[in-house]
């Protein structure tokens, strides 16, 4: 009883602290420094409270709920934190904690340029909004807090409002998020129509009365609505623009955790509320996951804007999460609950992992941007000499996202692979091919992600500086490095304790109604994660110790071999010319060959500009440049035609808008008539 009270109290204290942080920042807005301190410190405190509260639920299963009916009969402030909610609260709070530490130092470069009080206000509101989204237990209340989260994040995206591109990104985000919300509202209204309630528990308990047609419609609507927030392809177009426009600590949160609220609702609706789902739901989710993961990483490869590159990797990782979730849905629909637990655990694990390494990478990028004042990777180079710690943390993040052991990304992708392999092994031929597609896509994705981060790390930190700013860059502030160090350590720690974390996540997965009381197909013991029929085993501690041992052995061998050798430092042979930044391979050049391989998918565009010393003679080029880009196929083939269609329809509809009161009253009159006649029949 005491535990229940304390975990709920701590949760509400967390919301209260975010509220104080929001108001405090506004009150202290006249002083940039104090507004930043208030916003960040209360955000840190609120995040710690959120962590404590969620851990209590996760470990002790002290589920709590709170319900307060407002005057309006349909709107009740209703929270329920079960294990699934607690897991997402944990992830949000964890990243919010580190992002808030980071913001203490990072926000300084906005002093005297932008309104820090407003930043602190919307930042805390955003954090509180996310926590409430994953704990809301009434559809109307959910929509209120969903909108709070969306609007707060919109204002954060346009925070640097002197940049027109940021305003455009914010505008696009605003439109897309509300299109998504429209679909979500339709889904909830359909559920309300069938169950007569907006309360999640009532909906869940009345699911037997909902017809399959309604379930299918809700699935499609929720998939589009929450998929828009999650950034699945093709409703992802807002994501690279908005995530790159926001301040870095906000980008880390948006990319690391906000998009996961869409995943949370997928699980909540599809697996916790629904019953008796058809197999094709899982197949659709798997196909979307395969496409999103593969295309996400390919688009990332074409980017030379560091934040957009990372944003595209979010699409890729959402795809990977969906591969786990999709396989879980298929297994559940095929009455293979033990395997469904494996798929869901892989999905949840990757949710946690992606949050940590993506936040780390965004913070690394933010540190670099704060020194070089550009997001263009072609203008970096050689930063490892000036920002060695940032380079190290970024490298850790890059290895984790590339699924290299011993970091956490490796384990969740491995678990996702196992889930897909089980599908290939156990399911009928009609479904096998989707799992095969998923596994192939995931394999490609892993390789391409590694290539992309070789490009990113090489272009940013290695070779020589390619701009004056890069030449004079300095290591970032202490709070920034502390935040990055925490996340870098976490990627290793989570990887190391993957086996233990998996057992916790198995309890989360089993708490979902679809998988209740299911015996997992895996076991975790002594740091090893084993699939029960000897299908596969992995031990992260063993991998870590093996790598460390191999490195130590290699170092010893080198020492022995080179013990007699003398070190000579000479200039690199440069063919008689002076080495400079222009001689290095650029990010664009690095990815060009891969883009060429996938030109059928990416539709690259190439423009060559040559300027001659003598325009008539055209023998001696003064300068030449190649601009390599890709066609935005979604914008050109989906959104622009859709926009044109809407514009044409609007032009037709506008014909009835004559600006004459008489005509408008006539419309009302005719409508009234029509309704009366309709009523008579």
């Amino acid at each position: 009883m005491l535990t229940t009270i304390s975990s709920s109290t701590i949760f509400f204290i967390s919301l209260l602290l975010f509220g104080i942080g929001a108001v405090g920042s506004l009150v202290l807005a006249k002083s940039d420094k104090w507004a930043n301190v208030a916003g960040s410190v209360f955000a840190v405190s609120g995040s710690i409270s959120g962590l404590v509260s969620s851990l209590s639920v996760l470990i002790k299963n002290s589920v709590f709920s709170f319900n307060f009916d407002l005057l309006a009969p349909l709107l009740s402030v209703s929270f329920r934190v079960d294990r699934l909610s607690a897991f997402f609260i944990f992830v949000i709070s964890l990243i919010a904690l580190v992002a808030s530490i980071y913001s203490l130092g990072y926000v300084k470069h906005f002093y005297n340029k932008y309104n820090i009080g407003a930043l602190g206000f919307f930042y805390n509101l955003f954090l509180a909004g996310m926590l409430m989204v994953v704990s809301a237990h009434n559809a109307i209340f959910f929509l209120v807090v969903w909108e709070t989260m969306s609007l707060a994040s919109f204002f954060l995206v346009i925070f640097e409002n002197k940049e027109k591109s940021n305003l455009r990104a914010g505008y696009l985000y605003f439109i897309m998020t509300h299109i998504g919300t429209a679909f979500i509202i339709m889904a909830f209204l359909l559920l309300y129509r069938s169950t007569g309630s907006f309360d999640f528990t009532v909906i869940k308990n009345s699911m037997g009365e909902v017809s399959l047609l309604v379930k299918n419609l809700v699935f499609v609507l929720a998939l589009i609505g929450f998929g828009t927030k999650a950034g699945i392809i093709p409703v992802h177009i807002w994501l690279p623009r908005a995530h790159s426009a926001a301040p870095t600590h906000v980008s880390a949160l948006m990319s690391g955790v906000m998009i996961k609220t869409g995943i949370y609702m997928f699980i909540r609706i599809f697996m916790d509320m629904m019953t008796g789902i058809p197999v094709w739901w899982g197949v659709v989710v798997l196909v979307i996951g395969s496409v999103s993961s593969l295309l996400g990483v390919l688009y990332a490869l074409t980017e030379h804007d560091i934040k957009r590159l990372l944003a595209y990797h979010s699409i890729e990782n959402i795809g990977i999460i969906l591969l786990g979730l999709g396989s879980s849905l298929v297994f559940w629909a095929s009455d293979m609950k033990s395997l469904a637990v494996l798929g869901l655990v892989a999905s949840l694990f990757h949710t946690l992992n992606h949050a940590t390494f993506k936040a780390l990478l965004f913070m690394g990028a933010g540190s670099v941007i704060s020194q070089t004042h550009t997001r263009n990777m072609e203008e970096y180079g050689g930063l490892i000499k000036h920002m060695p710690q940032t380079a190290f943390f970024f490298l850790v993040g890059a290895m984790a996202i590339s699924a290299l052991p011993p970091f956490n990304g490796f384990f969740s992708e491995w678990a996702t692979f196992q889930s897909l392999f089980y599908g290939i092994k156990s399911l009928s031929v009609s479904v096998q091919w989707v799992f095969l597609l998923g596994a192939g896509s995931l394999a490609f994705t892993g390789g391409l992600a590694a290539a992309c981060f070789v490009k990113a790390f090489g272009a940013i930190f290695l070779a020589r500086p390619r701009s004056e700013e890069a030449k004079h860059a300095k290591e970032s502030a202490v709070t920034l490095r502390i935040a990055m160090a925490i996340l870098a350590a976490l990627t290793l720690v989570i990887g190391f304790f993957a086996s233990y974390i998996t057992s916790v996540l198995a309890t989360v997965a089993s708490s979902v109604r679809a998988l209740g009381f299911a015996e997992p197909v895996f076991s975790s013991a002594a740091g090893a994660f084993s699939l029960k029929d000897g299908f596969a085993t992995v031990s992260m501690p063993t991998i870590l110790f093996s790598i460390v041992a191999a490195l130590v052995l290699a170092w010893i061998v080198l020492k022995i071999i080179n013990r007699q050798a003398k070190i000579k430092i000479e200039r690199t042979w440069d063919c008689g010319t002076n080495l400079n930044g222009r001689m290095e391979i650029t990010a664009t050049g690095f990815s060009r060959s891969i883009i060429t391989v996938f030109r059928g998918l990416l539709k690259p565009t190439k423009q060559t500009d040559v300027e001659y010393h003598d325009a008539d003679m055209r023998y001696f080029a003064k300068s030449s440049a190649v601009h390599l880009g890709i066609e935005d196929i979604y914008l050109n083939n989906l959104y622009k035609p859709l926009q044109a269609l809407v514009a044409r329809l609007a032009a037709h509809v506008r014909k009835i808008q004559l600006g004459n009161l008489n005509v408008y009253v006539l419309y009302i009159f005719l409508t009234l008539f029509a309704l009366l006649i309709l009523l008579a029949f």
């Binding site: 004459n660 009161l661 008489n662 009253v665 006539l666 009159f669 009234l672 009366l676 006649i677 008579a680």
Partner: protein, 219 residues
């Protein structure tokens, strides 16, 4: 002392109905205002009669307020507007006189058709008067649609309100005195604002003909 026979109530409702018919075909603004005043007088009389029947002081207060606002204040504002801007003749209509009468006949026939038979559950004895009140509502809306002058449209809106009040009265759907007083106050404020707006529109466009107000349109 007070009237409660269905025939008398039907007669009073017929007066309200006749006033809106004449508002539709009136050429002079001042005549339309007079017709509205007469219509409002009948409505105030109905309410006054109800207050006597119920022996309710508050209802009498409502009837007096209705009388003050609709029979005295609103026509006063309209007459001032007419005198100030020399709006003796009302602006033209979209449909000519005969066509207007045809539409009015059709609307009346529609309300007396089988569509509205279910309304008899509201009041069996005043059923015909109820249908007449419904016709008055539809014809008042038609005033707003058919006439181009802003003043006529304002009278159409107020006539619609009178029709709703009489419908509520006949069907026994009257509210307590509080909401009724609130509605009367609302109408008073609306009349003042609408008159001021109409005056401003006249200054801007030199006419109260809404079809002449092209400058606010996007070209």
């Amino acid at each position: 002392m007070f009237i409660e026979s269905p025939q008398t109530l039907f007669f009073l409702e017929a007066l309200i109905f006749a006033s809106v018919i004449f508002i539709n075909i009136a050429k002079k603004n001042s005549f339309a205002v007079f017709l509205y005043m007469a219509q409002s007088f009948v409505v105030a009389f109905l309410l006054f009669n109800s207050s006597l029947k119920e022996s309710s002081f508050t209802l009498m207060l409502v009837a007096l307020s209705v009388f003050a606002v609709k029979v005295i204040v609103a026509p006063y504002f309209f007459r001032n507007l007419i005198n100030k801007h020399q709006l003796k003749f009302s602006v033209s209509t979209y449909l000519n006189g005969p066509m207007t009468l045809v539409i009015l006949a059709m609307l009346t026939a529609f309300t007396f058709s089988s569509f509205f038979q279910p309304l008899s559950i509201l009041s069996q004895e005043n059923f015909n008067a109820l249908l007449l009140a419904l016709s008055t509502m539809l014809i008042s809306v038609f005033v707003i649609i058919n006439r181009k002058g802003a003043l006529s449209q304002m009278i159409g809106i107020l006539s619609l309100e009178n029709a709703i009040v009489s419908f509520a009265f006949l069907s026994g759907l009257e509210q307590n005195a509080g909401p009724q007083l609130g509605i009367v106050f609302d109408i008073l404020v609306w009349v003042i604002i609408a008159t001021v707006f109409a005056s401003m529109i006249y200054k801007q466009f030199g006419s109260l003909d809404v079809s002449m107000m092209k400058n606010l349109k996007e070209e």
